[in-house]
């Protein structure tokens, strides 16, 4: 969707719509680009500095595009007790990036989230909305490989 189309319904509305607007933009673009923020500032008649002030406060907002496969690693208590620290480390090693970064081929990005609320299945990772339960050091390789394969199935 075009940025304009996303922003238009919010024109002339109150400032309490800032967060929903930013969420809408991120949902469609994957992140908050500079131009989208300045567009938001025109729409809601707010300075961009204020918008950045709000956007950087919340964990949800990103200012850089994510990879094609966005991996959320749950770092809740239950996941921690069952070894999510190792899971995160293995992922970082496997993809050769740190949490919050995107791989050079723009395929994978890792994000650490507080708790996805699937504690019964800990440790959990969520890739593009799909949950992978009871992840272990050894199963991560397979999961990642599965996503790689899904891109070029012939190989």
């Amino acid at each position: 969707m075009e940025l304009k189309e996303i922003v238009n319904p919010y024109k002339g509305k109150g400032k309490e719509n800032l967060i929903p607007l930013l969420q809408d933009i991120q949902e469609n673009l994957g992140y908050l680009s500079r131009e989208s923020v300045s567009m938001a500032s025109e729409t809601l008649d707010m300075p961009t500095s204020k918008i950045y002030g709000v956007a950087t406060f919340y964990n949800q907002f990103r200012f850089e595009p994510t990879g094609k496969f966005h991996i959320q690693v749950c770092r809740g208590t239950a996941c921690h007790v069952l070894g999510s620290a190792t899971v995160l480390k293995t992922l970082e090693k496997e993809l050769k990036i740190k949490a919050g970064q995107t791989t050079r081929d723009a395929l994978f990005s890792i994000e650490v989230v507080a708790c996805i609320g699937a504690c019964g299945l800990a440790p959990v990772i969520n890739i593009n909305g799909t949950f992978h339960a009871k992840v272990t050091e050894s199963s991560i390789g397979e999961i990642i490989e599965g996503y790689r394969q899904s891109l070029n199935p012939e190989e």
Binding site: R75, T77, V81, V113, C115, A118, L121
Partner: protein, 650 residues
């Protein structure tokens, strides 16, 4: 759908308390899923079910029906609570009781459906049968209520979860839903309703345990052109997922609770502030709100009584502090979610400066039950000062993880050993963490306490929102404390100094205890030694001087573990040793000279070149260079590398 269309007037008359004709009774029993005319396959498709593979189970079930030319209704239900056994599939064949199967991954669908449609029960995976459904009993299958996980539960809030279709208002109404609300509009004045809730003794389920009725009273007594009701579904506590399960499994119960609360306090606008991390719950809420509006139970001129209620959903943007009332209000207003000093309390000046009542999901979900059966009935459940039931999320090192609803006053030992089935892998129990980042830990000897708001505080923990994380002997309590401090430190909004700087400093101390510094400076050892004393002092200052609940409770996990597991801290500090082996940097390794063949693999894999030794001669580890990563132990094929036993200094 046409049948349901015809049903609408009947359902509406049921809401208004008219008695049903016999044929309508039968229809209602079918809607309540007590009996059925067609085979029904229920698949638990909450977030945890989907995570365990329920999506594929649904596909396989559909495929099976096509392949075998059978007709059956497939219903995606919410979570019944037994997360460890997901995907859960229930099957109800006409003339038989509803029967439940556990761990039904897609490969087992065929086998189970094959036999059940031949009216035989497969000899594994069955969990139990629902004895209150109509029809013949399956032989040799126990009732589901005899299952140790379900037997001690009293399900008020979770009554429909996992049993009924969550996005069917018809099923909810057939089960008596919205009847209390309609009845109240006819018969009770708002002020009487507030008194009813006070009398019931319902306390806020979000953590603090403030009397919900008192909050209503404060909001109701304000005069204003506009009042707001906010449902706090910003379940930020890591380790808690009861709100998600309630919304995913029974959204109408929450909506009815909100409708009643809004009427009692005189609010015409309501918000549900829900985490964006719960997409399924949000989707089901939207669907449920639309249905309720269609039935005239929300929106303008509710049930023709001239009252309005408009419910809006606000997605949280991921900030733990937004669970705090004033921060949550700021977030809805589109600002940074920072708390502000109270008073004025939100009940007098809240959202957009208007009187606002904020209740937790579970609190509101309790409301319909209270008005259905009366406040005396509700206050007969539970302990003297904590009434009703509480939903707990069980997770961590236990056999049956999941969601349970138990009466207040159940012993913690019962929860962990009977309901949750104890600790797996023959490990020993070490502690249970309750109340998330604001709560504390209970040790083995505290397990006999009867769980309610006050007893937990006495034992140094806190009810919180109800996340129970069980830890076995392989968990390091200092590491757990560090984990929580790391979380709080990141989530601190930064407005008040004690919380912002204090939590950071506490994390630094814990870091120095659990890590090995690259260069040990002159004072580092002394600082570590002072650490324990400093932690206590700092914790007290943060508690006394922070602005909001987050800061005031931030030191709890550290103070509580420090009190209960002091020897473990001392072991880390004085002996530089982690008894559980979790703090990897504190490990030191040694190589067994007799077993080492000198293959040099470990020396090559060592990231810091801490291993020396020539080919075919035993190797040695230089302790100064070793960072405790454990690579050498992992790669050694001869089991020559092992963690060095620490000689304890007492």
């Amino acid at each position: 759908m046409s049948i349901l269309q015809d049903l609408k007037p009947v359902l509406l008359s049921a809401i208004n308390g008219q008695t049903l004709k016999p044929e309508q009774e039968k229809q209602f029993r079918i809607l309540r899923r007590e009996e059925t005319n067609v085979p029904v396959i229920y698949i638990g498709a909450g977030t945890c079910g989907l995570g365990a593979g329920a999506g594929k189970t649904i596909d396989s079930a559909k495929q099976w029906l096509i392949d075998n030319e059978q007709k059956a209704e497939i219903v995606e239900v919410g979570c019944v609570g037994l997360c460890a056994s997901e995907p859960l599939v229930d099957i109800q064949i006409p003339g038989f009781k509803r029967i439940s199967f556990e761990n039904v991954t897609s490969d087992k669908v065929e086998e189970i459906l094959d036999s059940i449609f031949k009216l035989e029960v497969p000899n594994h995976n069955s969990l139990g049968q629902y004895e209150d459904t109509a029809g013949k009993t399956w032989e040799n299958i126990p009732g589901i209520n005899e299952h140790p996980f379900f037997a001690p539960q009293v399900r008020l809030v979770l009554k429909n979860c996992g049993l009924l279709n969550p996005v069917s208002i018809e099923e909810y109404i057939a089960g008596g839903g919205y009847r209390p609300f309609a009845n109240l509009l006819e018969t009770r004045k708002p002020s009487e309703m507030v008194e009813d809730v006070i009398k019931s003794g319902l306390r806020g389920r979000g953590g603090g345990g403030f009397l919900a009725g008192m909050k209503w009273k404060f909001a109701a007594s304000e005069t204003s052109d506009q009042k707001y009701l906010i449902c706090n579904a910003d379940e930020g506590d890591p380790g808690a997922f009861m709100d998600r399960a309630v919304i995913e499994g029974d959204p109408h119960r929450l909506l009815e609770g909100m409708a009643i609360a809004a009427y009692a306090i005189g609010a015409t606008e309501a918000y549900i502030y829900i985490r964006a991390e719960y997409p399924l719950a949000i989707e089901r809420l939207y669907a449920a709100i639309d249905q309720a509006i269609e039935y005239g139970l929300l929106g303008k001129n509710i049930l023709g009584k001239g009252i309005d209620l408009n419910i809006k959903i606000k997605k949280g943007a991921g900030a733990f502090v937004c669970g705090e009332e004033t921060a949550l209000i700021h977030s809805i207003e589109g600002k940074r979610g920072m708390p502000k000093p109270r008073p004025p309390f939100p009940t007098s000046s809240g959202l957009f400066g208007k009187p606002t009542c904020i209740n937790n999901v579970e609190t509101l979900a309790n409301i319909p039950g209270i008005f259905e059966k009366g406040s005396n009935w509700f206050s007969s459940i539970g302990t003297e000062k904590s009434k009703g039931t509480k939903v707990f999320a069980l997770s961590g090192n236990i056999k049956r993880t999941g969601l349970v609803e138990i009466p207040m006053g159940t012993s913690m030992r019962d929860i962990i050993y009977n309901i949750a089935g104890g600790i797996p892998n023959k490990k020993k129990f070490k502690a249970v963490q309750i109340g998330g980042p604001s709560g504390g830990c209970l040790k083995e000897e505290d397990l006999d306490i009867l769980v309610d708001y006050d007893s937990l505080i006495q034992a140094g923990a806190m009810m919180g929102s109800g996340g129970l994380v069980v830890m076995d002997e392989d968990t390091c309590m200092v590491d757990v404390a560090r984990f929580f401090m790391d979380f709080i430190q990141r989530e601190s909004c930064g407005k008040c100094i004690p919380c912002r700087e204090g939590t950071r400093r506490m994390l630094e101390i814990l870091d120095s205890i659990t890590h090995r510094p690259a260069i040990d400076k002159e004072n580092a050892a002394l600082d570590r030694f002072k650490g324990v004393m400093q932690l206590e002092k700092l914790g007290k200052v943060i508690k006394d001087t922070s602005l909001c609940g987050l800061g005031k409770s931030a030191p709890n996990p550290v103070l509580s573990t420090l009190k209960q597991f002091r020897e473990e801290y001392e072991e880390h500090i004085f002996n530089r040793h982690c008894p559980a082996g979790v703090c990897t940097e504190l490990r030191t390794f040694e190589i067994d000279v007799d077993k080492c063949t000198g293959c040099t693999v470990c020396a090559r894999k060592c990231p810091t070149e801490a291993i020396i030794g020539g080919k075919k001669t035993p190797h040695f580890i230089l302790e100064d260079k070793c960072i405790g990563c454990g690579n050498c132990m992992d790669v050694c094929k001869f089991e020559a590398v092992h963690v060095k036993e620490v000689v304890k200094i007492k």
